[in-house]
């Protein structure tokens, strides 16, 4: 496995942002009321993530360390504005149903997290693949949650009649409401934990959930201000 495919595997499976790192919970819970919403949100985050990783990686030697976070945010915000305007122009329905969560991609912790922990330390091509991997992992997570919630809560599959075509079936609306998001996410994370245990038993451990992204304090950019250095799983958000 070369380092590019390793990045893809890392983003989709090993450090899946939704089920393993538990990053970006706000859009994960809020917009996944249907599969198409989850897919749309995931893909727009993917586009922003890939572009921001590329730009930040290109500029990583120019950006002064002291103002790197504002610089990252300016880059991400410009990209999000582009995506938002494009969506309003070409996908008005999706843009309307995602609402405020598109501009909120600016503060999505996956994007800032990848910028901080990967793109600002690695070359452009690796960073692009890291962005694709993470973006695909996020898209996959959101689409799966959206799909399950939509099937259970509305009885449809990407908007097509599915369970709802069975006579006498009433969809459980709770699943497209807020409690359903927590229930579905909880069960999926529980399922992921079973997978993690099996992988560990096989000797192929997945990443620890919600810990430092690298665990390497000496080379960590946040080391100066980090208060959790002694703890093994100091949360770096």
């Amino acid at each position: 496995m070369n380092k590019y495919t390793e990045r893809l595997y890392n983003g989709v499976i090993k450090e899946n942002p939704t089920f393993v790192l538990m990053l970006g919970m706000c859009p994960t819970l809020a917009v996944t009321s249907s599969a198409i919403n989850g897919l749309g949100m995931g893909l727009s985050t993917l586009v922003v993530l890939v572009c921001s990783n590329l730009l930040i990686s290109l500029f990583r030697n120019i950006i002064p360390n002291g103002v790197r976070i504002p610089a990252f945010i300016v880059i991400v915000a410009s990209l999000v504005t582009v995506v938002q305007l494009l969506m309003q122009a070409y996908l008005p329905a999706l843009s309307k149903s995602l609402g405020v969560y598109i501009p909120l991609i600016v503060v999505n912790c996956i994007i800032l997290g990848r910028a901080e922990s990967y793109a600002s330390k690695n070359g452009p091509l690796e960073s692009v693949f890291d962005g694709i991997g993470m973006g695909l992992g996020f898209t996959m997570g959101l689409t799966i949650i959206g799909l399950i919630r939509e099937i259970l809560g509305a009885g449809t599959f990407f908007g097509l009649a599915f369970l709802s075509s069975i006579k006498g079936y009433t969809p459980a609306t709770i699943f497209i409401m807020a409690p359903g998001a927590f229930l579905v996410l909880g069960f999926l994370v529980a399922g992921m934990n079973i997978v993690r245990k099996k992988m560990e038993a096989k000797g192929k451990p997945l990443a620890e959930p919600a810990g430092c992204l690298s665990g390497d304090c000496a080379n960590c950019g946040m080391s100066a201000g980090c208060t959790g250095k002694s703890q093994a799983a100091g949360k770096s958000e």
Partner: protein, 320 residues
Amino acid sequence: MSEKYQVSSSPHVRAKDSTSNVMLYVIIALLPAALFGIYNFGYKALILILVTIAACVASEWVFDRIVHRKNSVPDLSAVVTGLLLAMNLPASLPWWEAVIGAVFAIIIVKMMFGGLGQNFMNPALGGRCFLLIAFAADMTNYASSKFEAYSGATPLAMIRNEGLSSVNVMDMLTGKIPGTIGETSVIAILIGAIIMILFGVIDLKIPASYIITFAVFMFIFGAERFNMNYVVAQLCGGGLMLGAFFMATDYVTSPITPKGQIIFGICCGLLTGLFRCFGANAEGVSFAIILSNLLVPIIEKFTVPRAFGVVKVKEAGKNE
């Protein structure tokens, strides 16, 4: 002679109560309301009660098997949960929706938090509220009452929409009204409550503080202020009596301290009053009780009784 001086470790006095005993008393106490529900709503109610109990017991047994826990079905708590859940369902509910509610109540609300004694919320009410949000239309369809004169809206909804004169309080007492299977007859519920009090299963702290708080709240803030008839109709309508005597008194999800129990009852009463007066629905007992369930750890923390013989010492510099 020496036998008299042998002292074993405490406890020295044991009660004969066991979990299954207590649960059996609750089941017996629920029977009048259940039988009246079957009389009122017909064989559909009987089927629904049996299906719900079976689903609760089966999911408890299956979960115990899957996680290799000791089989907890013999403690009868799953039967009580099933029966209570069925009491809270309209007789016209499709059976598979009742099964989903039962599985949710047992697996998610109770077993996933560690089984009986560990659940943070009354399982039957958790199941009911899940169904209420999931299948709102089916859960509020009370059309199948035996008494034609009242088919359709529940008395609470009628009081809210058409005023107090549209309901007959006598019928609400006996239970000749539409509603969920077990909530309609106040008399049947009170018989059950007396059975439980006589057998020492519950005491009056929670139900009394709940009902009194609710009555006072309705007297002052209700749609028809300072009208005793309105308060009585509100007391007899909906799930208030069933909730106050059978659900709020659940050992696991109510405070253990006497003061805490009264505070818990007041919380339930205030929330029920708030929901009924100012909420979107005419009924609010189940949400009020499960919200108060969530407050129980905090209530218990602040009502720990002073240990006998211990004097509270004021610590310097520490203002509590």
